[in-house]
Each structure stands twice: as structure tokens, then as C-alpha cells.
């Protein structure tokens, strides 16, 4: 029977099928971080269980970490306590741990791929919804809760019903200034924040075939923002070239064997999906969000839709605009911006800083804007320095911070104050996401750069050379 890529990877990981119940689903890689793991370890202890396969689990500290002075003790005692718990638990159970100060430390969804831990055909979970990022490699990757973290630690399995399958195709070529982030914000704006709930999404078509690995990670990362359990893209030469030579990637004979397997990981011609959507690349312009969920996005030159045209409850829509201090039919272009954040597991990779630098080069940071420029890992930080991007940023008046999740969810000191507006390359514009009362507009690194140098929402295309 013809199978989708998703079927092939899923079905090969089912240890046992339970009638009218979930599958017992085997996990190849388990990433853990300091926030969603401590209670899982407490559970292990109270049940006197061991970690079944510590070599399949990787720990990194990211959510709580400061982005300046990482060599000093972490000031917030609660954060320090969580970071310590991750370190202690990892040591106790024999799990490799990349804590603060480790040269491999960074955001879990950045360091997994860049160290060759993430590979095609794997099943990958983490107590973090943006685990969907790793689907860019042709892996089935998704976020889980802490009870499930405990399950994976103790048995390397979770109990999971198989999701339905959706394919999203984007055909044609992207226009000037249109990045992978715009592609994903466009798809989410079409499907809404709940439009893919219950589905696993395969991205296909020319746009994704031509996309870099960094771009594919950005797209798969945000699959969760339309409710999807995850996103997946068939591995190809771009994928293999990215993986080859990375530290934990297979080498020699093991590489050849793995590669032969990876080449079988694609959807068969006649395979069926439960739902399909097809879009044209030419219809996508640089995007920006105006509301409090990632489905409330639009082309940057457009006007905020009327509540009754937006679908869903008018009261909820109005509540959302009221929080943002925006109104129906407002233009987003020209809105004042107080903060700019570039970073996160969505857009904290080298390609994102190259894009940001391409706009700020030869320009100056707008005086009233506070900009947080936060690499996703120490490896990205090193690339920023080596490629001369740091010099461009410094000349334009920006400062580079140290890696971590930072202002994406504001568990550290990087908080946008109440009432202030941020253009953010992260993944969520929820109320208070970047600090209590903060107002977030999601956008690409190019749009973030344009806002950072002009101080208002600006179409990056007007700042780009032809």
C-alpha cells in the first residue's frame, strides 16, 4: 500500500498497538531541559525507576538562562534551582548535559540539529511544543508533557494515538524579502491557530524543496502554532549535506547505511492524506501579526481585518485587538516599535542573523528601540563573529547577547514592559508572552531588522537593494 513519509516513520516505531487506544510509540531521541523535567525525575524517584536508555537522552539548559554574564552565578534563585536540578539529575542517571558555560550549550532545538543528534527517520520528543522543529530533517518530532517525559525516561516510549495526515504544498518561487518565516505565518493565517489540530503536516512543493535547512526548521517549528502535532519535510540532498560531518552524525560505513535508508523516506506517489492545502508562493508577502495568537497575521502592507470577516467569536477577536491597542482596519506599517527581539528556536540560527545584518548594514539602530539580539547557541554565536556579522551589528549600534530562549517566553530577565510593542522573530504573540502586558508582533528577521533601524513597522523590501 502506498504510504506517506509520516506513515513510514510512525509505523516503524510502534512497539504495540492497543485496540481503540493509543500506540506504544518508541522514541529514538529525547531532549530534556530544566523547566519540564524536574517533576518527571521526582516521579522516577518516587516510583524507584531508572532511566532505561540514558544514551538516547540529551539535556541542555535554555529556558531560564540569562543572556548576559553567563559566567556569573544565576541571580534568580528559582532559575538557579532548576538549572541545578537538571545538572544533578543528568549526572545521577548518566545523561549527557550541556549546561551553562558548556561550549555546546544553547536552545534545545538549535543544538540538536547542529550537533548531528537529529537525524532523518527518527522519532524525537521533548517537553517543549517546538520540538516540531526537528521535522525539518524527515523525523517525527513533537512536544510532550511532563508525565510523558517521565514515561520516556523510564521506558523510552509514550502512549500516543496516531494523528491524521495533512499535506501543505506551496508552489512557485518566493518574492523579494519573503522568508521561510513569512511562509509559515502565511500558512497559519490561512489555517488559523487551530486549523491543523489533530494532524501531522507534511510540507511539500517547490518552495520547501528550495529552502535551506534553517528555513525548513523555522517552518516545522511553527507547525504547532496552527495546532498541528508536528511538521515534516522529506529529507533530500540539502538535508544530507547539512548533516554530513556533524559531530554525532554517522560516519564511514554507518553513514552509507544510514543514507541508503534516508533515501527511502518520502511519500509514495499515490499515498493519501486526510486533508490537503495548496498555496502559491507569489501570493505571500512579508508577514506580520496584529493579534494575540499566531493565526492573526497578515501581509505587512495590508490592514487589520474586520472582526466579522476574521471568523470565530467577535468578542474574542475584539478582546485580542483591545489588548494590542489596535483597531479594525488599522495599517500596521508605521506603527511605533519599542523593542526588537531576534532569536529563539524559530529564528535564532545563523541564516537569521545574516538576514538581519543584510538590512542593518550601513544603517543605525533607531534611538528609541531596545534590541535584543540573541543567538540560538554558542555555535551560532561563533559563526556570527567569524562571518563579520558582529562587526556590522556593532557599527549599527547593536549588542550581541549570549544564547538562550530569552525574550521568546521571558523566563529570564529579558522582558518587554507592559504596554510596550515588540517586533519579535519568536513563535508566539500570546498575551504577556514576552512579559506581563507586553504586546508582540511576530515577523521575520528582515522585518525585525527594518523595525530596528526605522523604529516603526516597515516593509523590509524598501530597504533592500534590488
Amino acid at each position: 500500500m502506498p504510504a506517506t513519509l509520516f506513515d513510514k516513520v510512525w509505523d516503524s516505531h510502534v512497539v504495540r498497538k492497543i485496540e481503540d487506544g493509543p500506540d506504544v510509540f518508541f522514541i529514538d531521541r529525547h531532549f530534556i531541559h530544566e523547566v519540564t523535567s524536574p517533576v518527571a525525575f521526582l516521579g522516577l524517584e518516587s516510583r524507584k525507576l531508572q532511566v532505561m536508555f540514558p544514551e538516547k537522552t540529551f539535556a541542555t539548559a535554555d529556558h531560564n538562562t540569562p543572556t548576559i554574564n553567563q559566567h556569573l552565578p544565576v541571580k534568580d534563585p528559582l532559575s538557579a534551582n532548576q538549572l541545578k536540578a537538571l545538572e544533578t539529575n543528568s549526572a545521577k542517571y548518566g545523561i549527557s548535559h550541556w549546561g551553562l558555560g558548556n561550549p555546546k550549550n544553547g536552545i534545545v532545538h538549535v543544538v540538536g540539529p547542529e550537533n548531528g543528534i537529529t537525524l532523518p527517520g527518527m522519532t524525537i520528543v521533548c517537553g517543549d511544543s517546538h520540538t516540531s522543529t526537528h521535522g525539518a530533517f524527515g523525523a517525527i518530532a513533537f512536544g510532550i508533557g511532563t508525565s510523558e517525559v517521565e514515561m520516556v525516561l523510564s521506558s523510552q516510549c509514550i502512549m500516543q494515538p496516531k494523528p491524521k495526515k495533512m499535506r501543505v504544498q506551496v508552489n512557485g518561487k518566493l518574492g523579494k524579502g519573503v522568508t521561510p518565516k513569512d511562509v509559515t505565518l502565511y500558512i497559519i493565517s490561512k489555517l488559523t491557530a487551530a486549523g491543523a489540530t489533530g494532524y501531522f503536516v507534511e510540507y511539500a512543493g517547490e518552495v520547501f524543496e528550495n529552502m535551506s535547512m534553517e528555513g525548513r526548521m523555522t517552518v516545522c517549528n511553527m507547525s504547532i502554532e496552527m495546532g498541528a502535532r508536528g511538521g515534516i519535510i522529506a529529507p533530500d540532498e540539502t538535508t544530507f549535506a547539512y548533516i554530513k560531518g556533524r559531530e554525532k552524525a554517522p560516519k564511514g560505513e554507518a553513514w552509507d547505511k544510514a543514507l541508503a535508508y534516508w533515501k527511502t523516506l518520502k511519500t509514495d506517489a499515490d499515498a493519501k492524506f486526510d486533508m490537503e492545502h495548496v498555496y502559491n508562493a507569489a501570493d505571500i508577502e512579508p508577514m506580520i501579526t496584529y493579534g494575540t495568537n499566531p493565526g492573526m497575521g497578515m501581509g505587512i502592507s495590508q490592514h487589520i481585518p474586520l472582526a466579522k470577516a476574521a471568523g470565530g467569536s467577535v468578542a474574542s477577536y475584539e478582546k485580542s485587538l483591545d489588548y494590542m491597542g489596535f483597531h479594525e482596519e488599522d495599517a500596521m506599517l508605521g506603527k511605533k516599535v519599542d523593542y526588537v527581539f531576534i532569536g529563539s528556536c524559530t529564528n535564532g540560527r545563523i541564516e537569521d542573523f545574516r538576514a538581519f545584518a543584510s538590512i542593518v548594514k550601513g544603517r543605525k539602530k533607531a534611538e528609541h528601540v531596545t534590541a535584543w539580539i540573541v543567538p540560538g547557541s554558542h555555535i551560532v554565536e561563533a559563526q556570527i563573529k567569524e562571518e563579520g556579522i558582529l562587526d556590522i551589528l556593532t557599527e549599527a549600534g547593536f549588542q550581541l547577547r549570549q544564547p538562550g530562549c530569552s525574550a521568546c517566553l521571558a523566563m529570564n530577565d529579558d522582558k518587554v514592559p507592559a504596554g510596550k510593542y515588540a517586533v519579535s522573530t519568536s513563535n508566539r504573540n500570546f498575551e504577556g508572552r514576552q512579559g506581563p502586558g507586553s504586546r508582540t508582533m511576530l515577523a521575520s528577521p528582515l522585518v525585525a531588522a527594518a523595525a530596528a533601524v526605522t523604529g516603526v513597522v516597515t516593509d523590509p523590501r524598501v530597504l533592500m537593494a534590488d
Binding site: 527518527m122 508525565s147 523510552q156 509514550i158 478582546k319 517566553l409 498575551e431
Partner: protein, 198 residues
């Protein structure tokens, strides 16, 4: 986690007819720094429930004493966003045992089932009927019957069936969790793992 068995719950309900309630609203990230599972109920819906100075916001439903009960009735797409199980812990810790909505986000639904909160998905029409019943009488009783998979508005007698897979139903009615099940099949998992290329 061990939790109380869930069979039939009869209770008044707290209405929250807002769509797309994300887990950052249920429990903001700054309250995720604990290393234990308890105590999150105090910060449930923190920023909707309290002013910056810690005084309660009078217009928020949890601060309105006419509404109470073990059932939270919410708008469409409840629990979207982060995978943080802390959101489900906060709801449980506050005292809710059941959340009713016309649509749930996936991970939230899983997390709830794993810790003993029953997510009951009803049609948008039936959800409206529940809101109407609570509006007419804040003490309107709902009966959530897990064995017969039925939710009833006792005042009007209107009811609707809901879905749950039989494995999860068995777990909920017995207070079991998945870890017990998985521990019982470890040798099967060992054998499976030995064939993995990863």
C-alpha cells in the same frame, strides 16, 4: 501520577466563553520555575485574575463568587500553545476535574488525561446551551458521566455524548496511568530497541 478515579461528576460550572485560551494564560511562564508539581492553582489565569499589585480583578470569572464548581466550561480551542503540563496541574490544583469545550488543543488534552482531568469535547451548539443554562442559573448543575460518555444539563435534561478512547477511559475510571502499563512491557521494549538503527 496517581489521581482520583473519575466516574460520574455532578457539579456547577464556571463559564469562560473565550476562544483560543492558550497555556500561557492558564499559567504564565514566570510561574514555571518550581521543581514540584503542586501549588500552581494560586496562579491559575494569573494575569486575567489579578492586577499588577496582586488585588483580584473584579470582572474576571474566577473572582465572581456566584460561579463555582469542579467544571470549567471554555470557548473553542482551549489549551493551545505550549506543552507545559503545568497548565493542567494548575487547573487540577485549583479544584477543577473536568474542562468542557467545543475544541481542545492536542497536547493539552493529552496532558489533562494523563493527570486525571477529563476534557469533554461537545458540539458548538451544545456548548452554547451550557453557557445559556449557566447564564440563567449560575448554580446550574452539569452531570459528566464517564462510563456512559454523556454530559447532561440537569436543569433542562439536555444531553450529548462525548468521545474518549477505551484505553484512556479505563485509566480514568480506575485512576491508573500509562507508566504502570509501560513498565509491564519492558522486555518487549528492550527487544524492539535492540533492532533500532539509532
Amino acid at each position: 501520577m496517581a489521581y482520583d478515579k473519575f466516574t460520574i461528576l455532578t457539579s456547577s460550572a464556571v463559564p469562560m466563553p473565550i476562544e483560543n485560551v492558550d497555556t500561557d494564560q492558564i499559567i504564565p511562564a514566570r510561574f514555571l520555575k518550581a521543581t514540584e508539581r503542586t501549588g500552581f492553582g494560586d496562579n491559575l489565569f494569573r494575569d486575567w485574575r489579578y492586577n499588577g499589585d496582586g488585588t483580584p480583578k473584579q470582572d474576571f470569572v474566577l473572582n465572581n463568587s456566584i460561579y463555582s464548581g469542579k467544571i470549567l466550561v471554555a470557548g473553542r480551542n482551549f489549551g493551545s500553545g505550549s506543552s507545559r503540563e503545568h497548565a493542567a496541574w494548575a487547573i487540577y490544583d485549583y479544584g477543577f476535574r473536568c474542562v468542557v469545550s467545543s475544541f481542545f488543543a492536542d497536547i493539552f488534552k493529552n496532558n489533562s488525561l494523563n493527570i486525571g482531568i477529563l476534557p469533554v469535547q461537545v458540539s458548538p451548539e451544545f456548548l452554547d446551551k451550557i453557557f445559556t443554562a449557566i447564564e440563567a442559573d449560575p448554580n446550574a448543575q452539569l452531570e459528566v458521566n464517564l462510563p456512559s460518555q454523556k454530559i447532561t444539563i440537569l436543569a433542562t435534561g439536555e444531553s450529548e455524548s462525548f468521545d474518549i478512547n477505551s484505553y484512556k477511559k479505563l485509566n480514568m475510571t480506575n485512576g491508573y496511568d500509562d507508566i504502570d502499563y509501560l513498565q509491564a512491557m519492558k522486555s518487549e521494549i528492550e527487544t524492539f530497541a535492540s533492532k533500532s538503527i539509532y
